[in-house]
Symmetry: C5
Subunit: 285 residues, 5 copies
């Protein structure tokens, strides 16, 4: 029975033509990643910065995961991104969960690597609908992370969880990680590696980001929210640019919960992304 | 039956809201870490310095684990911390056991790493209620330890043992391991990694340590006793500061068993921590 | 039953004399690699350059795996080479699939290594008839790749998939990777390692490539298409040379799908390789 | 039945108080290490120098493991220490066997490491009553050896074999490996790591070695025989010193089988160690 | 039943005295290595040079494994040494097979290592009666190879295959790999590691090689044929020297199949080694 479910879901990852050929074309195409969509758009709330950057990112309100959990729920985010420890102690089940299964601090110098720190089984037990994994493309340790993501992706799909890749070009060989050709490479690597979605940085303009989105093919593209922008308008324009370039949405943390009014920012982003409004309309609403 | 117990205990690690949603809210919240508490406070006796620092920490009385075991019992400590070898040969079962499952000597130079040297199964067979694991945050090998702790934590929870992380920022990138932002980072990393409790150093003042405790969220914070203080008063004031900042308690070794009167020191700490007295009252009692 | 099939197929890998001695000589010699042959020749379409070199290899048409899949089908290629992610989302089942199970970007400097990023089981589930694996012969990490290919080859044969080795001499010790002795070494290493076929670079002339083909023995030799040639004639002459030297065929990507008329190029190659025509006849047809 | 035996034996490793608490106090305390004792003393014959130092340690008589096996038997040694290969081909079963399960040559420079080269299962099949493992404490690879010993110790105890640790401080950080604080550290590390016995070097005097023995606690201490001493009297005085300091005995190789009369030396050591005679009485008998 | 066979064969590896004690003395002493003997002598044909040195060792005749297989059969060799790939495609079953289960090219510089590239199970499926494994004694990676050989030897014996160690002292610490003390060390390491036979280089004279053979004890010694000798007489004298020193035989490749008349050389070696003739008689026959 379990095997049956597994088979049905697994085939849903295959192309429609191949499914047709196998006589399976009538099955609905259901994938873990769909859980995180409103229509074909999505806004995810990321909250693993405490591990990645340390508490310097946090203040007296947003340090509390319970505040973030509530914000995700009331701000109607399509997903919440936690490390295992926070999910275990604070996840309420009210917003679909993406469990980040690797992570590192920003302290060690040298070529970056982050190893799996949570099993896919544990993620599933916690109620996650997707796992997230960072690949530092271009690092000397790139190969170890491509290998590990490959295994995790297969384990995730076997349990009907989506596999989302944070693809961050890094290491001595990377001079500018938002250069158009670097971002497009990240997007493409995610497609080839089997990611259901990638989280990548914005290139700075619609034209070059559109190429990155094309290179990602059927892999959905989430723009990475990044550090707090100089102004909200600037940030919203970037998001609008990513959407116009074909992105599915945004995975955002600091630009929401470091905002002076996080809930307002959440609703603005929802109008911009889910309701597909212009920056001007999204703000004034 | 075993599976049933496992499920019940496992769910106890989840947030109350999520349990409620799953219809499991009536179950008592019982966790391994509670075993080590008197009310909401705790004093743990640490005795793995023979491996970590060598016998230079020991004298003609405290070199003997049987003396320490007796001290832990009669001094009414909430837990005793041993490496596997000492637990096997000296543990009497009279005080809850935290088995330290990694360790290293202080001899090798370079970026620190300590690998698992005792299985979680073995810890459970020895009667442990928790496992302890050191993560040298910031070491070049940080990723290997985050990965290993991630696996150990899952194995421990599957057997209803708590997982306690000693989080010690170290390596070339760490200039001052008691700097407030470093200690807060250690606390937060423990929460995100899924530790039930962390053992971290004191920052030196209540204000900054309170921030560290906040960053640890629902992960309980134990102040690390550290090397023998210049005076007992100074040490007790630090502990009082940690408690005022919200710490659950203290994991202490040398400041007790290197004391001229270990039992008196044990009882003083108990009054200070468990009975929540002032330093002055704790001493004079 | 499955075990029976496995045994029958497995023995097909053994030499005819040994099969005869074991009383199994009447069994037909069927091997995964035969799936990719038209007679004794083959043209494979490679499309993992997005990961290996990045989207700089791609343009506004060929970036799309669906275009490539169609090209492979209509151009009557004997096989299509994809990474896992592209196979999952675009493979239609209309052309035999070779799943590439390792890969790396061109970003990291230093001695090259690419680790397995797709299980053999997953390749089989996707309908692959062969797995492909790159060995960077001469790299400091050579031994890790020979070891990994050894295991993958056994797993592949156990599921009746062929194992094809991309053998690329690389690293500080390699001065010229198309030198005749280097290419012959690559071919021989593929035979000794148990590859059903190798993909190697052309040496530049028939004579020296014939020696490489001889050194590969019963392991089939595919010339590696390499970067877009200066002129199509030059490229076709190289392919003709490889065939005259005894190669089974060509694994080609950029010289087809970067061509101004990919379908024409595909058909030209088919006439050259499968119909064994001269360069002149292949072009004019 | 096997499980029953296992349980009984396993509990024998626990402290008497804990056994009492568990209601198991009537069980006899039987441990693998007892197999190697005459009363509370022991002389072990070590013969793994062929691997550790090479045949330069051997001569035309003692190169032959059959000679050593006979010497161990007729010299009434309490145990014989072999690597797997010698045990398989020469062990007669007449003297309890300690199988050394790691080893290295003295050729490679740099930080020392020796990995497990014989499984615990194989040691048990060969009739061993204990496994031996060297930990190069202080080596950059210390952590790998503490981890491996931890696993081996658990496997050994599960089969009722004793686990003996050769603890040799080494590497760039060690200036003098017989300094009292270094030897005491080695002894203590053995206790904490769960060794049933440690083999350590002599410090040079009774006083400082007594401290090392104390630091080893319930872990039995074997003095390491070391290279052939300048005179037999000097060597015997060292052994007498170790015994007076509380050592259980001696693990000796070269000072016996490089002696002009190995059997006489064996019997002298037996009188000194097992019969607890003075150096003078042991010699003259 | 299989378990029974396994037990019977396993005990055959133990010493006669220990077997007697266990009541198993009536069992015939049958070991995989005996398969390769004519009386107590043996000549093995090695053909893994294509991987180890590259096709520079090969010519227009001997590049073909089928030629070598025929030569091994008609030259009445006691065994043939192949890598997995050649065994799979060319082995006819007419000569006992030794499957070499690791290997490397001569390209990478630095401390040598070769990892396992064929499972013991696969070797057994291919009909091998022994596995061969190279240990680069003295390499920085020595420990990894001693560990791997230890595991392979146990797996091989469990399937009644012999385990033969190529022991080649290498790396920065080795100045002269045919120095008598170096060769004797290699021989001894093979015995201690549990090899049924070792393949080592000749020291240059009978006296010093006799010591190496003695140090190998019951482990059989094969002289390594090495590169093509200046003259055949010189080579045959070396082989005669090795035999006079007590060697079991020769593992030879290039001095046979690079010879102007390989079959004649094969028969000469057979007379010299198996029929134990002098160099003069072996040649003239």
């Amino acid at each position: 029975m379990a095997a049956c479910v597994r088979d049905r879901e697994f085939t849903s990852l295959l192309s429609v033509e191949f499914l047709t050929q196998l006589g399976l074309h009538k099955r609905r195409y259901v994938m873990g990643i769909d859980t995180f969509l409103s229509g074909n758009r999505s806004v995810l709330l990321a909250y693993d910065q405490g591990l990645e950057h340390g508490p310097t990112d946090l203040n007296q309100v947003n340090y509390d995961p319970a505040f973030i959990m509530k914000l995700a729920d009331e701000g109607r985010f399509n997903g919440i991104i936690f490390q295992k420890g926070i999910a275990e102690k604070y996840y309420t089940g009210k917003v679909p969960l993406i469990l980040k299964v690797n992570g590192k601090t920003q302290i060690p110098k040298g070529e970056p690597i982050a190893r799996q720190n949570c099993s896919v089984n544990r993620a599933a037990e916690l109620g996650a609908k997707a796992v997230g994994y960072t690949i530092y493309l271009g690092s000397e340790h790139e190969s170890a992370m491509l290998e590990e993501f490959g295994r995790i992706q297969e384990e995730a799909h076997a349990q009907n969880l989506a596999a989302i890749a944070w693809i961050y070009p890094r290491g001595a060989a990377i001079k500018n990680d938002t250069a158009p050709e670097v971002v497009a490479y990240a997007a493409r690597a995610g497609l080839e590696a089997g990611a259901d979605a990638v989280k990548i940085k914005y290139t700075g303009d619609v034209e070059t980001f559109r190429w990155a989105v094309k290179c990602a093919g059927k892999t959905k593209v989430f723009m990475s929210g990044g550090p707090k922008a100089a102004s909200e308008i600037d940030f919203l324009k970037q998001v609008r640019g990513a959407l116009d370039a074909g992105a599915t949405g945004l995975a955002v943390g600091r630009n929401v919960w470091q905002s002076s009014d996080p809930m307002k920012m959440a609703l603005t982003l929802r109008r911009l992304i889910i309701e597909d409004k212009s920056v001007e309309d999204a703000i004034k609403d």
